[in-house]
Symmetry: C2
Subunit: 282 residues, 2 copies
């Protein structure tokens, strides 16, 4: 499996990818899923990939060979770049999909593509197996591919376009940490690339393994602080409720069939008190 | 969709379920997914269901009718109870699966079953569409069915068998809140049932809607406190790295094809500093 996330913030772009691939739990390997196309001062393109590794590598190879007239190196706009990547996916589909089908293998690959070309703002796209794509926006400033669900809630809670690049990177790492904990098929090391708007070159990149001081801090501290916040939240207070006054709050019950005793002592059920004793954080 | 979670703690059992069902986004309804079988002083059984609503209702109906010799009301152990539920699933399969197949509908239903029968400890099971089941244990003290991934990381971080019932309920509600934020097909009201070990009756139950004071507190406070903790975590510090000393940290790059300029200024790439300035919480 894979987890990749990319954010389109006002201040630039954030990219984070893991490196684990597996073909069954007994065949786990490490491959980097981030590929950078940079002509400093003119364009920076970053491609993250998820799905069938043979397919994503074939697409990357197709893009790197750049045999068509329009390539990642000369496409005039980011939308044109996305079309070039989409066409590469379709070329691989034409070549491989039928053979894969004979083995019952889906044509499964997806990409995140972000970057900037001189003279226009940065953009971020998500591309599907069919080569079509969608564009990030201010109401949806991030995309994920691969094992996306475990790491989604924290981004939903924290990231807006106004989020700084450092906060975006921090949030991406927390999102990745949650994913790593819940899915063993996502794994270290991580590739983190932070692109500053209008820099038109790669200025911040880190490959993070379990020795990395910052990632270790995130891993250790986030969990500990979450527990602290959790402990500070008030416990539910249960209060005996008069059943007559709150019949709707009773749990749905199955009545026993005729002749089977099933005494219900519903009058003793407590429901949540309608007040909350907020503790102050210690 | 659905999200149900149940925990088997040393102090008892916690059950939480949402109530949203949908057949396409234009057909959303509210159904309760929690069913209680209680004979106070002798047994308490709680069944949570996810999957095709017609199937889960058919299974519940089959169990409530209790036409077989062995029923939920007379099964001697919790394992026997799980077998009774498994048999009900298989009976519904025998009756319905073929007709569903003609319409391309999967036989898709799953259940969480927890409870206690006098004389033995409480147990918690997860049952699959095939009627087979697994048992919660001290290393895996909780199960989820339905839309489980968004709400899993927080439980993985916080819940162990030693967790108190109130903390279990609080964590289940936070897990549900994260799920509600990330998947519109999971919705209020919620059914929360907390079972105290050896009480052999339902003593704590609440149906929570968006007016519920405790759930509102969880919803508002958890997000705000998360943001606070997030802001207290140190930002990544970037430091210029000598490329010669750390070549492995450079991002994978595609070289431009022959004749295409693609100047790499790799020497200017900064990587994460190997120190972290921990801020103290304010």
């Amino acid at each position: 499996m894979t987890y990749c996330v990319a954010m389109k913030l006002d201040a630039g772009l954030v990219f984070l990818s893991d490196t684990r691939t597996n073909a069954g739990v007994d065949h786990v390997s490490t491959f980097r899923k981030m590929l950078v196309f940079e002509r400093a001062g003119e364009r920076v393109l970053v491609l993250l990939s998820a799905g069938n590794l043979a397919l994503t590598q074939a697409v990357r190879q197709q893009l790197a060979e750049a045999r068509d007239t329009e390539t990642l190196w000369n496409a005039k706009s980011m939308t044109d770049v996305a079309r070039v990547v989409g066409q590469a996916i379709r070329d691989v589909y034409t070549r491989d999909a039928k053979a894969l089908e004979a083995f019952g293998v889906d044509f499964n690959c997806s990409f995140l593509l972000g970057g900037q070309i001189a003279g226009a703002p940065s953009r971020l796209f998500q591309l599907y197996s069919a080569g079509n794509f969608i564009d990030a926006s201010s109401v949806n400033p991030y995309f994920q591919i691969g094992e996306s669900k475990y790491g989604k809630p924290i981004i939903d809670r924290l990231v807006t376009p106004a989020t700084s690049l450092d906060d975006g990177a921090k949030c991406a790492l927390i999102s990745m940490d949650s994913t790593l904990r819940s899915n063993v098929s996502v794994g270290l090391p991580l590739d983190l690339l932070v692109y500053e708007e209008d820099s038109l070159r790669v200025t911040r990149f880190a490959s993070l393994d379990d020795e990395n001081v910052y990632y270790k801090m995130i891993h250790d501290t986030w969990g500990a602080r979450l527990r602290q916040v959790f402990n500070e939240l008030p416990e539910p207070q249960w209060a005996t409720t008069c059943v007559e006054s709150a019949p709707a709050s009773l749990p749905p019950r199955a009545a026993p069939p005729e002749g089977v005793p099933g005494a219900h002592e519903a009058g003793s059920v407590q429901s949540l008190a309608q007040t909350v004793a907020l503790k102050m954080p210690s």
